[in-house]
Symmetry: C2
Subunit: 146 residues, 2 copies
DNA sequence: CCTCTGTCTAGACTGAGTCGCAATAATTAT
DNA sequence: ATAATTATTGCGACTCAGTCTAGACAGAGG
C-alpha cells in the first residue's frame, strides 16, 4: 500500500516506467511469503481481473530477475519458482511442504567453493546453492501427524 | 563395445530389461564427455537412424535419473542438461564455455549446510549445488585470446 | 496538452515434455 | 523350443510454458 514497495523502488531507480501492470505485479509478489510460480501469478492476476497478458507477466519477471529483486529457483521436481529477495549474493532454503523460504548468506560456502576451485582447477565464477527441507512450522505439524 | 558400460550394468542390476533402445541411449550418453541435453540426444539418435521415439528417450532419462547414473543440471540460462555420474551424493562444476564437467564431493559443503540448518531452524534434507566457471583448458584459450 | 518512445494486449506460435493405448519383444515358465 | 507374461516401445495427439509480432496505449518530460 505504501510507497515503500522495494520492487517499485528499484524499478523507479533503474529508470523504468512505473506502469499499472508493473505495480500490479509488484503488489501480487509482495503478497507471497515464500516462492511463487509464473502460473500462480497468472492465475492470481486473472482472478483479480487485472487483465495482464502473459507476455507482460513474463517480461516483468525477466526484468525483475535482471534487477535482482527476485530470483529464480529450480525446484527438485524440475518446476521453476521465484522468490522475492535482496540483491546481494545469497541462497535460499525452501520448505518442501509449505513453500516458505529463508535467505542465507554464503557463510562457510565460500570456503568450500575456494577449495573446490583448488581441487578441480576450474576458475569458478558463479554458483547456485539451493536447500530443501522442513521449516520449523512444518516440522511441528509433521511431528503431530505421527 | 565391451560389456562394461556402467549404465547397462546398473539397468541390469536393477532388474530392468536390456532393450535395444536403452542400449542405444546408453551408448550415446557414453559418447559425451560433459553434459548433454535431451534435444542433443534426440538429434543424435535421429542422425544415426536409431528410430527411437521422443517418449522412449524421456522415459529412459527419467529412469536413469532415478537410478542415479545421470543427474539433471539446471543451467543458469534455464536450460536443462544431464551429466553421467556416480551415484553417491556429489556436485558438478560446469565449464560455461565448453561444457566439460567435473564431479566434486561435499568437502566443506556439509559443514556449511549444518551451519545453515542451525541458523534458519530448517531441517534440511536435500541440497543442490551447481558451480560454473572455466575449466583449465578454456582458461588457457581465453588468456591467448587477449 | 503534445510528443516520443517504452510498454502493453491479444493471440498466434514454438518446442519441450507427457499420455494413452495398441504393438512389440525381453523374460520366464512349460 | 514354444508359448505365456508383462515390461517396454512407438505413435500421435495433447498440454503447457514461454516467446514473438504488430498495432494500440500510456508514462514522462517538455
Ligand atoms: Zn514449511
Ligand atoms: Zn553463494
Ligand atoms: Zn572448458
Ligand atoms: Zn552436497
Amino acid at each position: 500500500m505504501t510507497q515503500t514497495d522495494p520492487i517499485i523502488a528499484v524499478l523507479d531507480l533503474g529508470g523504468y516506467r512505473l506502469t499499472a501492470p508493473r505495480r500490479a505485479i509488484a503488489a501480487l509478489i509482495a503478497g507471497y511469503g515464500g516462492h511463487f510460480t509464473a502460473a500462480e501469478l497468472e492465475l492470481a492476476a486473472r482472478e483479480r481481473r487485472l487483465g495482464l497478458s502473459r507476455a507482460t507477466l513474463y517480461r516483468a519477471l525477466d526484468l525483475l530477475i535482471e534487477l535482482g529483486v527476485i530470483e529464480r529457483l529450480d525446484l527438485p521436481g524440475g518446476d521453476h519458482a521465484y522468490v522475492p529477495c535482496a540483491r546481494a549474493h545469497h541462497h535460499h532454503v525452501v520448505c518442501s511442504r509449505c513453500g516458505r523460504t529463508a535467505e542465507v548468506t554464503d557463510s562457510g560456502v565460500a570456503e568450500a567453493v575456494a577449495e573446490i576451485a583448488h581441487q578441480t582447477g576450474y576458475e569458478i565464477s558463479t554458483h547456485r546453492l539451493e536447500l530443501f527441507g522442513l521449516c520449523r512450522h512444518c516440522q511441528v505439524k509433521t511431528a503431530l501427524d505421527a
